[in-house]
Amino acid sequence: MRIHVTSVQVDDQVKALSFYTDVLGFVKKNDVPIGGEDRWLTVVAPDDLDGTELLLEPDRYPGFAELKAALTADGIPATSFAVDDIEAETKRLLDLGVVFTQLPVEQGPVSTAVFDDTCGNLIQILQLSS
């Protein structure tokens, strides 16, 4: 068994694709209509095109709204991405206007930060110290 796809629930797939590609730097992998306006929309890391896909999934299912609001209020990220240099990445995203709820914090072997994906989720970035 492998982890082939993981997902974040987004309030708007068009806006999400723009944020996850233009701002975060991922690239679109799959974009397939699945009825109505919904798409099977995935992105991957630019240096790992065959790696695990991130599904930008519509969040219209009613349970998501409550869950996302609760997680976001407490600063809890929906998922976590690895970066090589968390200070540089944080500065780059801040310069692009991304809102952080947690600036980089060192916790033993890892440093983490948390930002808002503009689609109703918080995202953690994580650097493993060498």
Binding site: T72, A73, D74, G75, I76, T101, Q102, L103, Q107, V114
Partner: protein, 96 residues
Amino acid sequence: VSELFHALAAPARRHILDALTQRDGQTLFELCTRLAAHQDDALSRQAVSQHLDVLERCGLVTTRREGRYKFHYLDTTPLRTIVDRWPIDTGKDDPS
């Protein structure tokens, strides 16, 4: 005052106040992150949340909702009641 001393009596709650002196205005998640790095006994998110409730009730922590996020702030004002009751600067010469 007894509520204040009760709040300060728990090591975990003192660690929370320590974490807030490192950076004021933290989400529950950031506080848990900082506590996880320094605590011998790991605290669950629920436990940290309950400790925060105790600290908030005696006024040592305040929360502010900013947009969709809730941040916790340190307020040391209640500590003044301790030195108001037992002054620490009475004008006496330092015994050392």
